[in-house]
Symmetry: C2
Subunit: 333 residues, 2 copies
């Protein structure tokens, strides 16, 4: 029988979506990082919801404080990718019966720490009793329609850039879940990438403000999958000639005979932004992001031909269309 | 130890809330049916989130279609109580591994049926893998600040009214959960109240439009609890001299030697609106609701003295501050 675990997350979403009437005025196509609805002249209410589930999203050693903060980051990251400042968040909590008052306080503090990092507030919420910890967040912001960066605006010969390096989270998850070892110096960085992710909000806002960012996505489903998403929304290919692999990823991979490319491209739960930028504006865009305290790394370019390739170890390798997906465990290597 | 099951839902919410920084501009006090944030001149984005959980919110015999529809109704009902039309909903789904494709299709269809009943749309969402079915909905609408009906505006001597009669759902739950019997004719009505609840949106919009509704709340936590909420937010008491008890509630109660008053006042999951209305405008307000195809039943009045009383069986009885609460099973009788 076709059960959820065989269908996988994306087929489930497709199945649900097929049965939904489409709103007449849609400013953001289904499947983009956020949803939006128009009001007044050229204005959008931008919305995002994402659910943190204990079993799948809270790795060993992550505290309740960190889990609650992460639930916020997951949602802010999607708004960041569109260049939208979060104004308020609502939180639906599912609390297991055996959580202590201290645990619940940590959840409250973690939620608050998360929203305040991004200058937003928790406006309200709801609590239910659940078997496993559930923190379902809905975030919203306001935007001008023209200012929103969709996944669909990339053109051939745009520069592809990321706000940081990859492979830290998938390495960190191997340390936490599979108990793989790592030297103390890099261990902290890899584990922190999992436990204390950051949404690239200031970077996303800066990217949107330049007017030269043609497409953007967050990388929470993995670098490879996110590139494929932009590819299919914008109808372009990619050639990545400077794969954004962190030094720590290389070192961890070497230690355990893992593939650094796989760790960096087919992981997930990384919250870097991936953006395509008009090449004539590259310097200005990079400067705008750096001025906000962020970074922007040129990793390649878009192509008219719809193939996704990465130059690695002197070879051109095809970037597969896989990444993190709930229900399916087609992980990072 | 102070665990979640001992704290109960309201203490948990209080614990979380204590640790949250408060947004500087709050148009709706915490704890009201919805949250809101101001934009521009006198405009509000109004938001609500509520989570349906299989174990606690989906009684036996409720289909996936009905559960998904109910998750929508739960959220629309809160917007309705404030007089706000829902524009869009986001849905975070938690799907157990063993759900079939057919089950998932039913969820999609049920979500769509729910939103279309209220002329809204599902704009987006997210899917995760969970142990139990979770349907977390976030609904939003736009409103003029002055048009929003809060819980806090009731004055002494206002008329108290409801959009319907009570006790059907708690009776229906006893049929479904405790297998109590009922004659076929009333059984259907009682069970339908549980499986096919309706949000009183047209009533809520009409109530708000009159400008004569001073406070309003939905009754999903039970009639008694909702009256207590208005009481504490508006600093008034109530005297209910025509308790809104359905004929079917009386009949079902008699059959099983239950208390019709308890079934009607201390149930929950009922989605009638409870409103307080300026007495000089009563006829006009009632007509406005009836014209929209709804009903408005005068059940009593507010009092300056902060006691909550109901006239029943020739006696004045105190209305206790209890109702449906997650974690705590202080149910309807």
């Amino acid at each position: 029988m076709n059960t959820a675990d065989r269908l996988g997350e994306r087929k489930i979403i497709e199945t649900i979506w097929k049965h939904l009437d489409k709103a007449p005025i849609i400013s953001v196509p289904f499947g983009d990082d956020v949803s939006a609805i128009e009001y007044g002249d050229d204005n959008l209410v931008v919305l995002k919801t994402d659910m943190l589930v204990g079993k799948t999203d809270v790795p060993p050693c992550m505290s309740y404080w960190q889990a609650a903060r992460k639930a916020v980051v997951m949602n802010v990251s999607d708004l960041a990718a569109k260049g939208v400042k979060p104004l308020g968040l609502l939180v639906s909590l599912g609390i297991p019966r055996n959580l202590t008052k201290q645990d619940i306080e940590q959840i409250g503090k973690g939620l608050n720490a998360g929203v305040r990092e991004y200058d937003a507030y928790v406006l309200g919420g709801d609590t239910s009793e659940t078997h496993d910890l559930i923190i379902s967040v809905a975030a919203f912001g306001l935007a001008k329609k023209r200012a929103l960066i969709l996944r669909s605006g990339a053109h051939p010969e745009d520069i592809v850039a990321t706000t940081g390096l990859f492979g830290l989270t998938s390495s960190g998850l191997k340390i936490l879940k599979e108990k793989l070892a790592a030297p103390r110096k890099i261990r902290k960085k890899l584990v922190d990438a999992v436990l204390m992710p950051y949404a690239r909000l200031k970077e996303g806002l800066a990217l949107a403000k330049t007017g030269a960012t043609t497409a953007s996505i967050d990388s929470s489903d993995g670098l490879a999958w996110s590139l494929h998403e932009i590819s299919s929304a914008s109808n372009v290919g990619f050639i990545i000639d400077a794969p954004p692999i962190a030094q720590e990823t290389y070192r961890f991979a070497k230690l355990h005979n893992l593939d650094p490319l796989a760790l960096s491209f087919y992981g997930g739960e990384e919250y870097e932004l991936i953006a395509t930028i008009k090449p004539e504006h590259w310097r200005r865009v990079k400067e705008a992001v750096v001025q906000q305290g962020g970074n922007l790394l040129k990793i390649g370019k878009t192509t008219a031909k719809k193939t996704l390739l990465v130059k690695y170890g002197g070879k051109l390798i095809k970037i597969e269309a896989r990444g993190y997906e709930h229900f399916k465990y087609n992980g990072s290597d």
